[in-house]
């Protein structure tokens, strides 16, 4: 029998979603259908066309043009993607479509220096390495020992050669890098979050959801993003992303940072449907241009939910 989420268990969650999303009925409806399965081609090892030709022989697939994504339409057995030859050879990474967007927004290039502060399990690190063609340099950090093991394994499987993996508290790492006078022109801050955008795929996220946790995560996120600015070069860009929808972890973080530090939002386009940030939350009107940040709702692309913002030093 298929598992379903009992939203009645958390009425506060339901109320918040209703206040947040105008078409909230569509949000709840999408939990009744299967989430799309996406993979990301690894062009460090194979071209998208070659991978499509290989996968076409075993599954029904759809090329999501303008992105590195391929949708797997076939009904797969549990573990079928991960145990396939093409996965083991590192030709693709199982990654949700919306989770590919932060790196598309950041757009790291060959000679860039890129810091991925909360890197495990490595989907975005390896996506960046792919765009950088294993050149430039990446520092990929995570604090958790178990998560670092997964990061190591994914970096190896994807054939990434330009990355240094560090295991440090991200705030401490930024302080150490600042002391060494090392800065980066591309930084990704994709910190731990309440994961509201992923509950369709991971019911346990819903089980542990609570408002106190959201507030506590938001203060950690502000600290990480604020400290990341210590090592952002003069003309550099920083992308802040979460896989959650809560304004406390998204617009509130951006407002706090843009007010406290001399930074500005940078406009960017995404190749999938997204919406602007929300203008107000619980009676408070945000004091920045919310049209420059992106919200991706699960019902819009049958993907996970995400929030993405890009910042730089004010000119």
């Amino acid at each position: 029998m298929e598992k379903t989420i009992d939203f009645k268990k958390k009425p506060e969650f339901v109320e918040r979603i209703k206040s947040l999303i105008p078409d909230y009925e569509e949000f709840f409806k999408c939990f009744q259908r299967r989430q799309k399965v996406f993979i990301r081609v690894n062009t460090l090892k194979i071209s998208k066309q070659e991978l499509i030709e290989k996968l076409n022989k075993k599954w029904d697939i759809l090329d999501i043009k303008g992105t590195p994504a391929i949708e797997v339409i076939s009904n797969l057995k549990a573990g079928e993607l991960g145990s396939s030859l093409e996965h083991q050879l590192g030709y693709f990474y199982v990654q949700d479509l919306s989770s590919m967007m932060p790196i598309i927004a950041l757009n790291p290039k060959k000679d860039d220096s890129f810091l991925d502060l909360c890197a495990s399990p490595g989907s975005k690190t390896t996506q960046a390495a792919m765009l950088m063609e294993n050149q430039g340099v990446i520092i990929a950090n995570d604090q958790n020992f178990e998560r670092i093991k997964t990061l190591n394994a994914n970096i190896q499987r994807m054939g990434v050669t330009n990355t240094i993996i560090t295991r440090m508290d991200s705030v401490q790492l930024c302080k150490s890098l600042e002391q060494l006078k090392i800065s980066f022109n591309k930084i990704l801050v994709d910190p731990s979050c309440s994961g509201e955008g992923t509950i369709r795929n991971d019911f346990s996220t819903f089980e542990i959801w609570d408002i106190k946790r959201i507030k506590s995560l938001a203060s950690q996120q502000k600290a990480i993003l604020g400290n990341a600015l210590r090592v952002l070069s003069k003309n550099g860009e920083i992308v802040y992303s979460t896989c959650t929808l809560s304004p406390e972890e998204n617009e509130e973080v951006i407002e706090y940072i843009t007010k406290k530090f001399n930074t500005e939002l940078v406009s960017f386009n995404l190749p999938i449907k997204s919406r602007p940030g929300i203008k107000e939350w619980e009676g408070y009107k945000f004091d920045f241009d919310v049209s420059k940040v992106h919200r991706i709702y699960p019902q819009d692309n049958d993907s996970e939910g995400f929030f993405i913002a890009k910042l730089r030093w004010s000119k």
Binding site: L85, Q88, N152, Q156, T161, N162, I164, I165, T166, S176
Partner: protein
């Protein structure tokens, strides 16, 4: 602090000579070791000095990609094979579907002809799927448990 040992130029020369036997001529990277026999390559645009300085102040867990084990000859990792797929043109054994399936599941396989004892690159179709140590007609398997494919 992790112990990073950069290969000395003599060691690098020996390694590059061994790789030439597979047709690999060009590698633009730092060669280093974090453990005893495992050689890694790093292509990030940092000098040896810069890496050493970072290692003094940061808690580095790993860097670059595991290239090969040099215990008994050079055994390239599955992922290193892909880095050099355009260059590898020697010491290749082409496997049929049955052999590839057996090899990918972690088992030893038998090939049709007897070859001199050495490490060989195994290929299935256009894909390099690993390296095996050939002794006569037997091919020893080194595919790590986590990378085995049990059905395809």
């Amino acid at each position: 602090m992790i112990k990073i040992t950069f290969l000395k130029s003599k060691e690098k020369k020996v390694l590059l000579n061994s790789l030439k036997s597979y047709g690999i001529e060009k590698i633009n990277a730092h060669f280093l070791m974090l453990g005893k026999n495992k050689i890694r390559i790093f292509t990030g645009n940092l000098s040896k000095k810069e890496i050493e300085k970072l290692n003094q102040f940061l808690r580095i867990d790993n860097l670059g990609l595991y290239l090969c084990n040099k215990e008994k000859g050079i055994r390239l990792s599955m992922d290193a094979l892909h880095l050099f797929k355009e260059q590898i043109n020697q010491k290749i054994i082409d496997l049929n579907q049955e052999q590839a399936k057996k090899f990918l599941s972690g088992k030893e396989i038998e090939i049709d002809v007897s070859l001199p004892q050495d490490f060989y690159v195994l290929r299935f179709g256009k894909d390099f799927i690993g390296m095996g140590f050939v002794s006569g007609r037997n091919v020893l398997n080194f595919i790590p448990r986590g990378r085995r494919v049990y059905s395809n």
